[in-house]
Subunit: 306 residues, 2 copies
Amino acid sequence: MGDDRSTTACQPLSLINVRSLLDSVDCFLFDCDGVIWKGDTLIDGVPQTLEMLRSMGKKLVFVTNNSTKSRRQNAHKFQSLGIAVTEDEIFTSSYAAAMYLKVNEFPTEKKVYVIGGEGILEELKLAGFTGLGGPEDGKKTVQLKTNTLFEHDKSVGAVVVGLDPHLNYYKLQYGTLCIRENQGCIFIATNRDATGNLTDLQEWPGAGCMVAAICGSTQREPVVVGKPSTFLMDFLQKQYNIPTAKMCMVGDRLDTDILFGQNAGCKTLLVLSGVTNQSTLQDPSNHIKPDIYTNQISDIFNLLNS
Amino acid sequence: MGDDRSTTACQPLSLINVRSLLDSVDCFLFDCDGVIWKGDTLIDGVPQTLEMLRSMGKKLVFVTNNSTKSRRQNAHKFQSLGIAVTEDEIFTSSYAAAMYLKVNEFPTEKKVYVIGGEGILEELKLAGFTGLGGPEDGKKTVQLKTNTLFEHDKSVGAVVVGLDPHLNYYKLQYGTLCIRENQGCIFIATNRDATGNLTDLQEWPGAGCMVAAICGSTQREPVVVGKPSTFLMDFLQKQYNIPTAKMCMVGDRLDTDILFGQNAGCKTLLVLSGVTNQSTLQDPSNHIKPDIYTNQISDIFNLLNS
């Protein structure tokens, strides 16, 4: 049976399995970076593929660990790249962080310190919470002087850490002090992606880098709200009411996208247009195997139109 | 027997055990931050205590995980605080990093990228290696633009990460690219202290924070050359030729100093003048127990002179 599984799982996309996938799936969940775009560059053939799936009546949802943008800002990015996507089709890890606080009845009189982008602050505000930090702390410096105390806000009850290209020692100390010294302070990671395609030509350290830094200084482990945690799936299901067995998660990362899909009971399709290449996928040390893999999502379009 | 051990181990310093300690020990290894000083402020009673130990013929050695300074720079700091200590009595994790490369015959035509302070660059240079990065990369910024490639030196064969209050995304990307893309590149951590007394009034994120960040983006684990690794002990022993059973490690951190002493077979004395307080020491979750503990090293002086 073990052999059976390894031969049936992880097939390359083909005319046969793409038809069976489309027959069995009502909703496609797409990761964005490395699947839809790389940095600000659209990946070839994306618009016609999405259009084709919509014309077949498939529900499209975009589930991204990128926390630097809010849902609204992500919808703008889609529109600027010529793809019509509405805000409520987008689920970001910045939104997940705000929803985690909401679901857990985080007191609105407490504050949330943010190591990360504007998107987290925007989602916090929309959910009725007061955020501190974020981009504006990127310019702050520390004074390592005798008799100088670095002060932090004692009313911070949660620290949210996401991707932050403006990480500095000020933010590291601020977040660390809140988590270590404010009684009951929650430590939330939007996600722990090691790297991401922040630009089209290469990968950059991801939220996993900033999150690990705070783990290193606080010796605490965070609650992770983005993929592969299935926290967002509850919201998604409330909105669309589609069983996860009727969903297919499409992504470029094994340890976030594919694991998220598997954790939630979805079918999974790995695309090699982002951070994972075929040799990583097939390396014996990799134990996360998607149902199907292919080069890029436009292969679905091309197979059906050839 | 379990009870026996827990009552005999971890005694408060007393006139009885201080005498037995001084009888059985020829060499005292002192941590610096939190033991000798906090930031740039000397801890009370340190000079007379060190003087008394020297007058008793004890060898004094200073073993610090602080990598921001070289041995020479540390000797200057001692002198500026009015304590006569020579360079060869000081063992720093910056020196350990350079010695690790030397012992492992790191090719001198390869370069070493440094996330950390001037001290690492100075020790590398003294050992005949070419360092890159360090403080001068603290002012560099990244361009997250389409068609812009972040270039790194392909001849970097090792990345050394230590405490770096000037950590930024440039350094994170540089170090990550070297480790991920340069074949065989070694990842060295000077140490993994979670926090340190960079100033007298509070703790700050330590090298453990920067090291964890690079672990997060590279998904690699470093070689640790500072405490609690016993790598430095070989050099120390070559120089002084004293058996470790005749040494006592004095420090303020359980997971670096006391563990280092225990790993090496030394006696151990914890002082509560740094990052560890009595409740942490006695918490059931703590399994690292020093032989003896006391508030500060001057208690040795005071007990013997009262």
